[in-house]
Symmetry: C2
Subunit: 306 residues, 2 copies
């Protein structure tokens, strides 16, 4: 990639710069998308903005954009698609934090949406971000080819629904009542967290119009990364610093849920996480330096402190 | 339309038969779509089935199918799209009934989802039906043309989001705290109820690949029908029979909300509703007997007792 392109491409930038760049771009997109109207819906938009703007690692848009960069996709386009995927992620955080679900007071270092705006506005803010994500993906301004738009919607709706994120969250709620084995916990986490991470990479692949045979390696990368990410999350829950992570920790053990940690122990869980990251990186062997950002993201996942 | 087609077409069947036919077809679709898996998500699927199967007037799929029938669209296709729109409607009912929202115990003559399955499952069942709707619309098995699929997603996501149904529900919650005038109540109801009714008709128009100039009359029909439907709903809330309607009534007055009824009074509200139905029917003047079902739906809306 030419040096002249450096300021608008994450491909060769160090990871911290890439994260900061994407975070700023996603924030600006949400700022436009969620402009507060001068009518009785103002609090609804404030609630969406509270959750969507100025927080989070933006891992999913980063994955979409870094993957799309491999295939020379316009960054304006991959940013819009990444923002839509982040909207799905943010909606799920709002609903998961509700008193009837995980009952969390803090998220990304701020009070959760229902704590500030009430439960009704939180439910509706989540619902609205969910619908907005599909509106962005289906909008001709996001991508000129309807085939690509329809494929993106299919990718994301499957990852968000009962066979993906929301189904995984249901299994997670059941985990407090049942005793899951490692296979079931793995499936649960692949649905709850892995599906959307995979969809974020797949979105980059769809935008890049990659032929089916070329998709396998990036799917393998996304699959292993998603699982590694969740194990790292479990480790953070057990060993992390609440001030850094920005939410309440040590909740898994208190709820008596089986997790990777309870089933494997800290040492084996960390080893498993490292192994999955190595595997994820190995899937990228056919790519050169242009995939360094995806490699760096995988390494970051296991070493992060938030 | 040829007599030979009568058993599979609603176009010339009396309204009650058409409603029963569509209701049975939508139920069968949901039964397939929501087959209960043998894993910890079983209750999530039971919750979705409880809300989606065996109840409701199925007005929205009926509108999609009756509109699509005007243009010779395959009924298998319009049924799938109608079912997706009904999934959006059902998800909104589940969330609106939650304790933090309208706090309703009964819906369609049955206990509400959160009463039977708990609040967490109710929130997730709504979220899943929301995602499933877009999955159905974006699926190549629903329609072979990606342009049509993307247009359907755009139509529905706009109708469901902050400028449509969910935005209207937020305004409705604010209505308990503010004193809305007739213009604001009209806008609220056009968003909360009208947007999805319009989207259901528009979906039939999209499936029929109707040129822009041909869409105006059906849009006018949908717009007036949506408003008439909501005024009729307000009248039912004030005068209806709870056993027939299948949910708690007289809630608007108790909450001190301004509605069409509180602002217009019963007589002028009923007159306004009749006028809107006449206007809706008038929009169909260019169509012959093939639009009789759409006319019958409009007449039914003002005279219904549930």
């Amino acid at each position: 990639m030419a040096d002249a392109e450096a300021p608008t491409s994450t491909a060769n930038a160090p990871l911290a710069d890439a994260i900061a760049l994407v975070a700023g771009e996603v924030d600006r997109r949400f700022d436009t998308l969620l402009a507060i109207p001068d009518d009785p819906r103002a609090d609804l938009y404030r609630a969406m903005r509270h959750a969507a703007i100025g927080g989070g690692k933006r891992l999913r848009p980063l994955l979409t954009m870094a993957t799309a960069d491999l295939f020379g996709v316009s960054r304006e386009c991959s940013l819009l698609v990444g923002t839509a995927i982040e909207a799905i992620h943010v909606y799920s955080l709002i609903h998961d934090d509700l008193p009837a679900m995980d009952d969390d007071d803090m998220r990304r270092g701020k009070p959760t949406v229902h704590k500030v705006f009430g439960e009704a506005a939180a439910i509706l803010a989540g619902d609205c971000l969910h619908a907005l994500a599909f509106e962005v993906l289906a909008d001709p301004d996001t991508h000129p080819d309807p085939f690509v738009r329809a494929e993106l919607v299919l990718d994301l709706s499957r990852a968000a629904g009962p066979s993906g994120m929301a189904g995984g969250q249901m299994m997670d709620l059941e985990a407090e009542k049942a005793r899951f084995d490692l296979a079931t916990v793995t499936r649960l986490q692949q649905m709850k967290t892995g599906a959307l991470i995979s969809a974020a990479v797949e979105a980059g692949v769809i935008l890049g119009r990659v032929a089916p045979e070329g998709r396998r390696s990036l799917r393998g990368y996304a699959h292993d990364l998603g699982l590694a990410f969740q194990i790292a999350d479990d480790l953070l829950d057990a060993e992390g610093d609440e001030a850094l992570v920005g939410k309440a920790l040590r909740k898994d053990a208190g709820a008596g849920k089986e997790t990777f940690l309870s089933l494997l122990g800290v040492d084996r869980a960390r080893e498993q996480c490292r192994m999955l990251v190595d595997q994820a990186v190995e899937h990228l062997h056919a790519y050169g330096r242009e995939a360094d950002l995806l490699r760096a993201v995988a390494r970051y996942v296991v070493d992060r402190d938030r």
